[in-house]
């Protein structure tokens, strides 16, 4: 199909083949279909588990292979189970703080790392990989060891403090890894320009560098939150004095008894909540931008 140009019929319309290129229509189409399949597959892979969880959360039957009736009682039940509720609260507390702290620290560290020479950089990046590579149980026990050296000074040290520290420990590498590539592409003149205009290094960092790498920071933050929200083993070893998070609750409850479907309900709620949160923040941001433009 060649496009027509009314009023210019006397001219031939250029065809890509005249210029030594081939229009790979078929291959392109095949690739497009292939790509669509892959993307659908990926979305399917990511969404099918939470869809199943959702189904189980509205399933009146506690049996995971049979669908009885639609019910919302599990949602109500979340708030009946004291221990579950506490675990949820703890989880939210830890993951939000761990995410915030490690996002801030990780960004600063990444900025520091980006200024190092090649050798020092390689050195620290190898270290940075250790928390990622270590089996969780190894990290957990290792951290426990370190933390317990402080127990003589602070008898009640174990609990949210240690868990928070531990979470910061294993989420930092994700932030660093996300932010670092962005820093590489930065135009060095930008920072210089800001200094030149009399803005001090740290304000410049905040005003110029951070906006330029915010996509990396954001994805680091998302990863940090994911890891923190999900963690069981490290949390298990580093907590104490009755401070359990949701993953510990889930794991321990699977051991001897079946999970209450309230867990599914909670999980679904979380997903929906995040979805709404995302949309809202986005709307707010959109409005702010709109504001600025006028």
């Amino acid at each position: 199909m060649i496009k027509q140009y009314p009023g210019y019929e006397q001219y031939e319309v250029a065809n890509i083949e005249d210029y030594g290129y081939k229009e790979h229509r078929l291959t392109k189409k095949i690739f497009k279909v292939f790509r669509a399949i892959v993307i659908i597959f990926a979305v399917f892979l990511m969404y099918i588990p939470i869809f199943t969880i959702f189904l189980q959360s509205i399933n009146s039957s506690t049996i995971t292979s049979e669908f009885g009736q639609i019910t919302f009682k599990w949602y109500a039940n979340i708030f009946d189970k004291g221990s579950l509720l506490t675990a949820i609260r703890n989880t939210v507390f830890i993951s939000i703080w761990a995410t915030l702290i490690s996002t801030v620290l990780g960004t600063l560290f990444a900025i520091g790392i980006s200024t190092l020479e090649r050798k020092a950089k390689r050195h620290i990046m190898l270290l940075n990989n250790i928390p990622l590579l270590n089996a969780d149980i190894v990290s957990g026990i290792g951290l426990m060891l370190i933390f317990s050296s402080l127990i003589h000074i602070f008898p009640y040290f174990f609990g949210w403090r240690t868990m928070l520290l531990a979470h910061i420990f294993f989420t930092l590498p994700y932030v660093v890894l996300s932010v670092l590539p962005k820093l590489r592409e930065l135009d060095p003149n930008l920072f210089e320009a800001s200094l030149d205009l009399g803005v001090k290094p740290y304000p410049s960092l905040y005003k110029v560098i951070i906006p330029a790498i915010k996509a990396g920071i954001f994805s680091g933050m998302i990863l940090a939150f994911t890891m923190s929200f999900d963690d069981f083993v490290i949390s298990y070893y580093t907590t104490g004095n009755g401070f359990d998070n949701l993953s510990i609750w889930i794991y321990s409850s699977m051991g001897r008894k079946s999970l209450s479907p309230s867990v599914y309900a909670f999980s679904t709620l979380v997903t929906i909540l995040f979805f709404i949160l995302l949309i809202i923040t986005n709307l707010l941001r959109g409005r702010k931008q709109h504001h600025e433009n006028h």
Binding site: A42, F67, P181
Partner: protein, 277 residues
Amino acid sequence: MNKYFKKLAIPYFVWLYVLAIIPFVIMAILSFVNNEGLNFSKAIFTLDNFGYLTTSSTVIAFMNSLFYAVIATLTCIVIGYMVAYAIFRSHFKNKFLVMTILILPMWSNMLLRIEALKNIMEPHNIITDILSKLGIHVSLDIAGTPLAVIIGLISTYIPFMILSIYTALEKIDYSLEEAALDLGLTETKKFWKVIFPLSTKGIVSGSIMVFLPCMSGFAIPEILGQGNILLIGNVIDQHFRNMNYNLGSLLAVVILIIILGAIFLVSKFDKEGETLL
């Protein structure tokens, strides 16, 4: 920038040395002794633990880990790139939002998701039940197979890859794409010669985030492999649970050395010094 923020890296050095290296040293010591738990008072020097390194199950578990981690990482790169690139090229007004929504599932508990995935991979589950009530009889029976484990690994870790790659793609200077087209490169070639090389950093960091946890994780192979598929993470976990910290530490240390050593070598011989680390 250099001279101002160099000091920012110092606390991280300290932090990592305290929280990553000291435990590592302790574990290194643990692997040469025989003691109970972490009680060093009764420790005796021994090399017995090293005997277990070569037992067939350990070696097989290690090879399995490597195999699954490589396959999962490669697949994640391919699929993750396609997804990230599709979003990058889409005409959505807020692409980052679209992407975050896409990877939203990773914010529900991983164990629950894996359990759910396992359920679906078995012949009888809630979805087949609903479908069969609607008169559709389909079912899957792959739980316990390597395929199931790989699918589980991909499903769990692909968001990391998508995020990393997308972030890398996001800031590629558009004028470079124009320059490539201008120089006569077709869209396909432009992709391979400009966009892809400029996004390798995202691929590398994404791969690290996928490969390393795949190497050392145990929940996914255990659940989706129905206990039949043994990865090195499972072995380490077992020994630590049995409180054989000596053997557990030894395995952990050996793996750490092998993988980090490999990364170190690659980064050292990486001519440009840019692609890795």
